[in-house]
């Protein structure tokens, strides 16, 4: 229909080997319908599939050994399956499965359900074009068996990425087998059973290690100018003595000596002492974070008071500092009875204490539940929807988080005051609020690299309990909460208000959100740095970030105006500024989305632009000389002058990556007009390395970028 649909997608022909023994049917070519593929699976599944292939390869020999047709197996494919993930192979197939469409009354699709080691795959046989629905086991939040109907036994699957699949399986017995298998597969008991430990993108050990080094938090602190006269990076926590949920290296005021640090840690819940989150270099105001003090009704701690004083004095420009408790006041008061609580203003010098009522993880979990019920309602009226949206409270909570982030950013920028933020343990609301404030204050965090750094710093390193909050493993369902989802949504809301300020687009957010749950990469496993070390994440799994950078082209924001175009953001937080995020919560209901996608259109414009610029320079080189400017050249190219977006022309893979300041020598890069034959050759060379498994060159660039290429704060 429109040209942009065709653009940018490689052929999705993949081969799926079925797990049952039928010599002729052992392999089957599956041509995936592009649209459906995008719809159902997204990119992770595709990556995941490659892995799955190698499992299947491993499994093939096994199946050949215990060969011979198993009619029995066919009748009930799961009986023969070995439910042991140690083998990493799991086969199963059920035919005559219907997939119901919630939004249309179309005849339900009829097809086959396959169960692999990593995915549940549904292949629609009734459609003219082959349609597939892929569901990663780790993405499954709940599996429900609904009461038997005349059509068969319904199986309802809710995914953590808000995909809902409603299958109807002919045989009750089959349905039960699928049901029990999925229960086990979706939430393994042992961490070693998580996908990341078996995921093998066939990458060399070196590249894998380089991948993990891509994000170096020390570099980010250097960017803020730390160490400096007031702040130092200390390894006080190297043996996790101070706090076992903090990373080994933390940033504290120079004025706080070891005794102060240790003393303060005894007075803070779980030893989570105040540490630096972000330093606003312009005026030395800092955002620091910690957990609640163990103040009870009257307890105080001299070292903790000294700690806060040290933080305040590290910002000589301000006579006071804010202490922000992000909980509702009542919750904080209730905590006093348990020996915890909040800072007494009388005990700390020159602090201004403030509550910001963000609700706790349980309220947020219930709120999301209600929101999803609204999203899933079949043909609701406008009134139903808006009332449901209101009653869920979801946008109220999003606004609360955003308001808190805005408060922090304003305190730092406008009042020049440092802020210490905590909630209860300082790993949920605190992480949301601190990362949001950084995003508002510093354009670096709105770049690809910066956003990765931000997540590594404020969420991963500082011990947001991803494993518990995302329910990676079989555990306490009350620990699950959409805290990170809310942060991602806040970023999306900012993108709606400031469409030119982010280097990346909505899809990047969705991809990260997917991977927080997918357990395909090691970054989000476990609950804190120590646990990740114990799990040998860095030795046994891959880091997500290099994989995302590889797909930069599809994740970038075509309207991005560059690093220097906007500094601090001051979002409007009036209620009408917040929108329901259909692209997240109804993401898989494509019928609801705009039928033509501006982003796709603009992305194809971007790639077209590169091609045209290549063409133009190529032609210019061919022309021996020109007497005068061509008539069309007379028209000015508005973009060329400002040059903020041209650098991407250099390489097809766009590793210029970082915003313009990367080029410290200040020369304008990527001027098409002067692209020489040599450049052209380089380009060809580079383009040879597009094989996704050959990351070496990519890493070469990324690595040097990580070391030297950090954009400096202007």
């Amino acid at each position: 229909m429109v040209e942009y649909v065709k653009a940018s997608h490689e052929d999705f022909g993949v081969r799926l080997k079925k797990g049952y023994e039928d010599a002729e049917n052992e392999e089957e070519n599956l041509m995936l319908d592009r649209k459906e593929k995008k719809e159902s699976a997204g990119k992770i599944q595709r990556d995941g599939f490659k892995v799955q292939l190698c499992h299947v390869d491993g499994g093939k020999s096994r199946s050949q050994q215990d060969t011979k047709p198993c009619d029995a197996k066919r009748a009930n494919p799961f009986t023969g399956a070995i439910l042991s993930l140690s083998l990493k192979v799991m086969y199963g197939m059920v035919e005559n499965v219907k997939l119901l469409d919630r939004y249309t009354n179309r005849k339900a699709a009829n097809g086959t359900l396959y169960l692999t080691a990593t995915h549940l795959i549904y292949v629609d046989a009734s459609a003219e074009v082959r349609k597939e629905t892929w569901i990663l086991h780790h993405h499954i939040a709940t599996v429900e068996k609904l009461p038997l109907t005349t059509a068969g036994c319904p199986l309802l699957i809710h995914c953590k990425n808000f995909h809902v699949a409603h299958f109807v399986i002919g045989q009750e017995r089959d349905c039960h087998e699928v049901y029990t298998s999925l229960l086990k597969l979706s939430q393994p008991v042992k961490p070693e059973d998580l996908y990341a430990f078996s995921y093998n993108p066939k990458m060399s050990k070196d590249n894998r290690e380089i991948g993990w080094k891509l994000i170096d938090l020390k570099v980010d602190y250097q960017r803020m100018g730390i160490p400096n006269d007031y702040w130092e990076i200390t390894d006080a926590n190297k043996d996790y003595e101070v706090c076992n949920t903090y990373p080994p290296e933390i940033v504290v005021p120079r004025a706080a000596n070891k005794a102060t640090v240790i003393g303060s840690s005894r007075f803070r819940s779980r030893g989570r002492i105040p540490v630096l989150s972000y330093l606003y270099k312009e005026n030395n105001a800092a955002i620091c974070r910690c957990s609640q003090p163990l103040s009870g009704f009257s307890a105080r701690c001299l070292e903790d008071e000294q700690m806060l004083q040290a933080i305040r004095e590290a910002n000589p420009g301000s006579p006071f500092m804010y202490v922000v408790d992000t909980r509702p006041k009542l919750n904080a008061i209730a905590n006093r009875a348990a020996g915890k609580g909040y800072e007494n203003e009388d005990n700390y010098d020159n602090i201004r204490f403030k509550f910001i009522g963000i609700e706790n993880i349980h309220v947020m979990r219930n709120s999301l539940q209600k929101l999803l019920e609204v999203c899933e309602t079949k043909s609701p009226s406008m009134s139903d929807f808006l009332t449901g949206l209101e009653n869920s409270g979801w946008l109220r909570h999003i606004k609360a988080v955003m308001d808190a982030g805005v408060f922090l950013a304003k305190a730092v920028k406008d009042e020049k005051a440092s802020v210490l933020v905590h909630c209860s343990d300082g790993w949920d609301r605190t992480a949301q609020v601190c990362s949001l404030a950084s995003l508002l204050l510093d354009p670096f965090y709105r770049t690809f690299k910066g956003f990765m750094v931000l997540i590594e710093k404020e969420w991963i390193a500082m011990g947001h309990k991803f494993s518990h909050r995302c329910g990676h493993l079989d555990g306490d369902p009350k620990e699950v909460s959409p805290v990170f989802t809310q942060f991602i949504e806040c970023v999306w809301q900012l993108m709606q208000q400031f469409p030119c300020t982010f280097e990346f687009n909505e899809r990047f957010l969705l991809e990260i959100h997917d991977h927080v749950y997918s357990c395909q990469f090691g970054n989000f496993l476990g609950t804190c740095h120590k646990e990740r070390e114990d799990l040998k994440i860095f030795e046994k799994t891959h880091s997500l970030w290099p994989f995302l950078l590889q797909k930069k082209q599809e994740f970038r924001n075509p309207l991005y105006r560059g690093f220097t175009a906007y500094k601090e953001l001051q979002p409007n937080t009036l209620p009408f500024s917040f929108q329901f995020w259909c692209g997240m919560y109804n993401r898989f209901d494509k019928g609801m989305h705009p039928k033509q996608c501006v982003l796709d259109h603009l992305l194809s414009c971007m790639s077209q632009k590169m091609k045209l610029e290549d063409n133009a320079s190529e032609l210019e080189n061919k022309l021996p000389f020109l007497d005068g400017p061509l008539p069309t050249e007379a028209c000015s190219f508005p973009k060329m002058g400002s040059a903020s977006k041209t650098p991407m022309l250099n390489t097809p893979q766009d590793y210029e990556g970082e915003p313009p300041p990367v080029l410290t020598n200040g020369t304008a890069v990527g001027d098409v007009e002067v692209m020489s034959d040599v450049d052209q050759k380089n380009k060809e060379n580079l383009s040879k390395h597009q094989d996704p498994h050959d990351l070496k060159d990519a890493f070469g660039v990324l690595d040097s970028e990580a070391k030297d290429g950090k954009p400096q704060h202007p």
């Binding site: 406008m382 009134s383 009036l574 929108q579 109804n586 209901d589 705009p594 133009a616 022309l623 050249e633």
Partner: protein
């Protein structure tokens, strides 16, 4: 009447103007017959505000000591504030504005005084004539004819002089059908779907009354639009209940027994004061910045605005579906056939017909389905969301239509030649304009002058002297269709799409139209910049393409030259 009589104080100095998102401006306030003008009169960078009195919906006065404040609420939903020193001046200004903004004589309106400062390339009054439309139609089918039965507006006062009807129905039959339809609005052709020859007709309700009157000619007329053996759909924009109640007042609906080839579907769309109240509530919710999220969502819900949008779009999609998917002809009507009927027929055309998604095609649609079809703009757009006066005939019917178009545009951002700005511009001009296009309630009035309205009896003394809008006022289209103006309204993403476009009507897919309802409540700086960025990117690509082509040509020329030289 002289405007001077109404202007007690024509000029006040040291007036301070407060507008959203702009710093306050101090300057001189002047009142003219049609404008409120505030000029900063600074040499360096003079700022001026020109506001049409007819754009003013309501004003409020406040006094603190001798400093008076006038809050002006406009029909385009903007609110501005003027601080006027001196109590007497302030009172005079307020009463003048009040009088000048509520003139009830059409001929005193600004369009009759406006002198265009631009060269008229194309007379908009002659841009969209029914004859041209019929010519297009007759190139694909000969089953229709142009009837001049209404030449003198004697058959149906709210219809244009010429209408398109089935060829097999003669004018005599039309006269009989007109007697059987509310306001004499007999079924006429609204849209011909080239793809399958199906049609959409529109009319008003049939006057069946309680005893089930019937009209053979009416049955014959609408059956004439059916292909042999085919069925059609009647989309009644009222609920069954309302339609049944209408019988008591002499109206009604088509009985199955008398129209056996037609299936009737009721799709309720609200009308009149319910819509006006909805607009008032919505605007009130958008303007109240004090409330929290829950209150905002609950007020948005309570306004029902988006519910109306969903209802209208659903009915339009249904009509389009019947035509394109079911291969059936459709007749649309409500009660009068001047409001919800037109919303449905015009939106269905946007869904079905790519031509209606071009600028010119959309203008033509507005002319055909709204102006010529007799939507009473003057009554509907007399007041907007801030009016304190008792509402009579006001209703944001056309605004709802524009909002629905915006919703479709948002879902198909590349399929429309025009951008959101075009829709906003039309919204503004329906309420207050220097052009005559939206004056009057129908073609009859636009040609025949209403001398005065007697408020007591509500009756209009009509004189037969011509209002001559076409000679005495400028058409909006004359101005808009100049290239320099048109370029403002072009959609940079447009790529002609010849397909039928099916919008989603799920609540998740419908949004508040920020460009209209939040326009004055939040800064659009960053969104405007994004728009610019998008335009720049697309324009740059176009220039690049041109450059590459030019280089190729040049190269080809050089090569030819070389060869020629070799040959020599």
């Amino acid at each position: 009447m002289e405007f001077a009589e109404l202007i007690k104080t024509p000029r006040v100095d040291n007036v301070v103007l407060h507008r959203p998102f702009y710093p306050a401006v101090e300057g001189t306030l002047c009142l003219t017959g049609h404008h409120l003008i505030l000029s900063s009169r600074r040499q360096d960078d003079a700022e001026e505000l020109w506001l049409l009195h007819s754009n003013i919906d309501s004003i409020e006065k406040r006094f603190v000591g001798s400093l008076g404040t006038i809050i002006i609420k406009c029909k385009d939903l903007r609110i501005i504030q003027l601080d006027i020193p001196g109590m007497e001046e302030c009172l005079n200004i307020a009463s003048s504005i009040e009088a000048l903004s509520t003139l009830d004589s059409v001929t005193l309106m600004y369009p009759f005084f406006y002198r265009p400062m631009f060269e008229v390339v194309e007379d908009g009054w002659r841009s969209f004539l029914p004859e041209q439309e019929f010519e297009l139609l007759s190139s694909v089918t000969d089953e229709w004819r142009l009837s001049c039965i209404n030449k003198e507006f004697s058959v149906c006062p709210s219809y244009p002089p010429v209408v398109i009807v089935p060829k097999s129905i003669d004018d005599e039959a039309l006269r009989k059908v007109a007697m059987f339809r509310h306001g004499s609005r007999f079924p006429v052709l609204s849209y011909y779907h080239k793809k399958n020859g199906m049609v959409m007709m529109r009319s008003s309700q049939p006057l069946t009354g309680t005893n089930g009157r019937r009209c053979k000619e009416d049955e014959k007329l609408i059956n004439a639009t059916l292909r042999a053996g085919k069925r059609g759909y009647i989309i009644d924009t009222r609920s069954l209940n309302v339609a049944q109640q209408a019988r008591a007042k002499g109206g009604g609906f088509e009985q199955e027994a008398h129209y056996p080839q037609w299936r009737r579907i009721h799709k309720s769309i609200e009308r009149f004061n319910i819509l006006q109240e909805s607009l008032i509530k919505l605007v009130e919710a958008c303007n109240d910045q004090s409330h929290n999220m829950d209150r905002w969502l609950s007020k948005l819900e309570a306004s029902n605005w988006l519910t109306h949008i969903k209802e209208i779009l659903t009915a339009a999609c249904l009509a389009a579906q019947c035509i394109d998917r079911e291969g059936a002809s459709v007749l649309v009507h409500g009660t009068e056939g001047t409001d919800s009927t037109l919303q449905v027929t015009s939106l269905a055309q946007i869904i079905l017909d790519p031509r209606c998604r071009t600028i010119r095609g959309f203008e033509s649609l507005v002319v055909r389905e709204w102006l010529q079809a007799g939507h009473p703009f003057q009554q509907r757009c007399a007041q907007s969301a801030y009016s304190n006066s008792k509402q009579k005939w006001e209703a944001p019917v056309f605004l709802l239509f524009l909002d629905c178009v915006w919703q479709i545009l948002r879902q198909f951002p590349c399929s429309f030649e025009f951008s959101e700005h075009f829709l906003i511009m039309l919204f503004e001009h329906t309420y207050a304009s220097q052009f005559g296009t939206f004056l009057g309630n129908n073609e009859n009035e636009r040609l025949v002058r209403i001398l005065a309205q007697n408020p007591a009896s509500g009756k209009e003394k009509v004189s037969r002297s011509k209002l001559k809008l076409q000679q005495k006022t400028m058409s909006l289209w004359s101005w808009v269709n100049r290239p320099q103006e048109l370029s403002k309204y072009k959609n940079p993403l447009f790529e002609a799409n010849s397909l039928v476009i099916w919008p989603s009507v799920a609540p998740q897919s419908l949004q508040l139209w920020e460009g209209v309802f939040l326009r004055w409540n939040r800064s659009s700086k960053f969104l405007d910049e994004a728009y610019e960025e998008m335009v720049t990117l697309i324009e740059y690509n176009k220039q690049l393409k041109a450059k590459v082509n030019a280089l190729r040509r040049k190269l080809a020329e050089l090569e030819t030259d070389d060869r020629m030289q070799e040959n020599l």
